[in-house]
Symmetry: none
Subunit: 362 residues, 2 copies
């Protein structure tokens, strides 16, 4: 099978054009190979970098003998395209899937990786796959398990969208299925069955009545969420359903761990068949760490942003679990991630680039 070949990326040209070129190579989770190949090829044009690859994760690192090493990481994949590619530029904003989450951050990293031959810290640049899907597929998680040495560092920056500000830590995430059971029957004789979909009404009622907490951790406020994200029940239009599954997603403050989060979900759905399908801990903001403080001062001086709590789960938690302080910093409004209207001011791409460049060269 032949597929249309995307043109090579130009990491030494305009960073907005680079963002655009990266966005225009679709890379929905599981389908990152074409983009990973292009990123790898671009990195291999820089003789000062050692380039490594594992699946569709590409790593490039300097070996300058600096006293500190930082990781700058970003994921290559996106959620499904919503008829919003190729990108378009309008009134100073770049529209399209990935412009916010997080190909702006990828472009900034790729441009700096190739151009910065002598940063003040050694840098490991990480471009990874499968961030937008189940945690066990996550490319960064795979590196933690299989190549932990590739991630060794003193401080890490994830290029997730922060509007050019700095977002500390992240909430944890837990997914569970609330499984309703019934008894099938012909829908013309429904009284001889038990409707599992009707039984889901009480589950949705508890979700509607649920009041999520706001939790302050190290000076930043995390807003929790508990939502139904999927519901599915029934097999045919003439059968009383004997099964219905409500998949819920709990996003919890980094003040509690996965076990406490699970206990909370089980308490909310007490009396129901609850099966946890996926969970990842959050990360405390870590802004009390000197490296994090120095990074914050350097980049915020350029972008004018301020530190806030990261509401979404991000892979900073994986660094946090390794004992490495880590923050999110990147162009784009996180509220526009995954939306059909995903778009990023090009100014933010440029200022994020400048801020990281300043930090890595001063």
């Amino acid at each position: 099978m032949t597929t249309p070949q995307a043109p090579a990326l130009d990491p030494r040209g305009d960073v907005v054009e680079l963002t655009r070129a990266i966005c225009d190579v679709p890379s929905v989770s599981g389908d990152e190979t074409a983009l990973a190949d292009l990123v790898e090829a671009a990195l291999r044009t820089a003789p000062h970098l050692e380039v490594l690859r594992d699946g569709d994760t590409v790593v490039a690192r300097t070996h300058l003998g600096r006293p500190t090493r930082v990781v700058v990481a970003g994921h290559l994949d996106t959620v499904p395209v919503a008829d919003n590619l190729p990108t378009r530029l309008q009134d100073g904003e770049l529209w399209g899937r990935g412009t916010v989450d997080m190909k702006g951050g990828v472009a900034v990293a790729l441009a700096l990786a190739v151009r910065l031959e002598a940063p003040t810290s050694d840098v490991t640049w990480v471009f990874y796959d499968h961030e937008e899907v189940a945690a066990d597929l996550n490319g960064l998680g795979r590196l933690v398990r299989e190549h932990p040495d590739w991630l060794a560092c003193d401080f890490a920056v994830l290029g997730e969208p922060t509007n050019g500000g700095l977002e500390g830590g992240c909430k944890g995430t837990l997914r569970a299925e609330v499984r309703l059971h019934g008894v099938a029957a012909h829908s013309a004789r429904a009284w001889s069955g038990v409707n599992a979909v009707h039984a889901a009404g009480e589950v949705l009622r508890r979700l509607e009545a649920y009041t999520a907490r706001d939790v302050e951790v190290d000076g930043l406020v995390y807003r929790e969420c508990l939502e139904a994200v999927l519901i599915s029940g029934g097999t045919a239009t003439n059968i009383v359903p004997d099964r219905c599954v409500v998949t819920v997603n709990y996003r919890f403050a980094p003040s509690i761990d996965v076990a406490q989060a699970e206990a909370h979900v089980r308490e909310v759905f007490a009396g129901y068949d609850v099966v946890v399908t996926d969970a990842a801990p959050g990360a405390r903001p870590g802004l009390d760490d000197p490296a994090a403080r120095q990074f914050a001062e350097a980049v915020l001086a350029v972008t004018g942003g301020r530190p806030e709590a990261k509401q979404g789960w991000t892979d900073v938690a994986r660094f946090s679990a390794l004992g490495v302080p880590a923050v999110n910093f990147g162009p784009g409004d996180p509220l526009l991630a995954h939306t059909d209207d995903e778009r990023c001011p090009v100014d933010q791409v440029v200022s994020s680039y400048e801020a990281l460049r300043t930090w890595l060269t001063t």
Copy 2:
């Protein structure tokens, strides 16, 4: 392609053996040709019958100049075989796919069609295809559209299983989608979205609170049902769903028509986006009709059964729509239709045969 040739049917032999032979020719909907060919061949052995065919529907009729004409109809197709063919006879019951729904009725009709040279009414015997699938494929419906003259009659009997009793009329059925709309958002920042699955909670609440009516029509009680049969919402486990669809099935008494049924569903789900996807009217039992009363007295005197309301939708509704009174009468327990344990007491096949013979000869 050659297929093993089934032996010719013997409509003049034992009616239980005939039932068995008919069951042992698999005829899942869409694959009725082999059985239709055998039925046609058997009918053509009777010089008193005019035999007609349309697709896999076979019609045979007398032309005796009687003042009344009755239709006796049965469908040749079955739901998929569940490893329950060939049939087996055990403790007076014939086991296997089709023994209940409805090859017992087909065998009774085929035997009488060939043997009764001078029934007291003219008779049109109808053996049709595609009853167990989407209504628009139904062979009887095709005759209504394309050969309505073949169905002209004063009274009709459908050989659907009634345990040898008599089931009058049938409920109507209406399917509708209740569509919930929300606003998508990342599930870590759920406050910026509107959850369409949570919104389905109120729809399910109304279904739970709904008390279905029992409606007496012409002395028979129809138990209505309003059930969710399918529910589907959400696109990914990290997105607040912007869409959820609850498919409901309303089975309504034949005292109301489709428009009234739709109005009722819209009233139950007032304030919601309701789209009707499928509807078919019910049929009044018609037991106040003299022909129906005479039929009931004649057959129930033989079988000892009694008239009851047909709860499921059946093709009697097609005759009802033509202004022809029609009833269900046939061997087998309707609760065993479509089950893996489908089986019919052979006594019921024999008594159904005797009852119809008595009615058509007295």
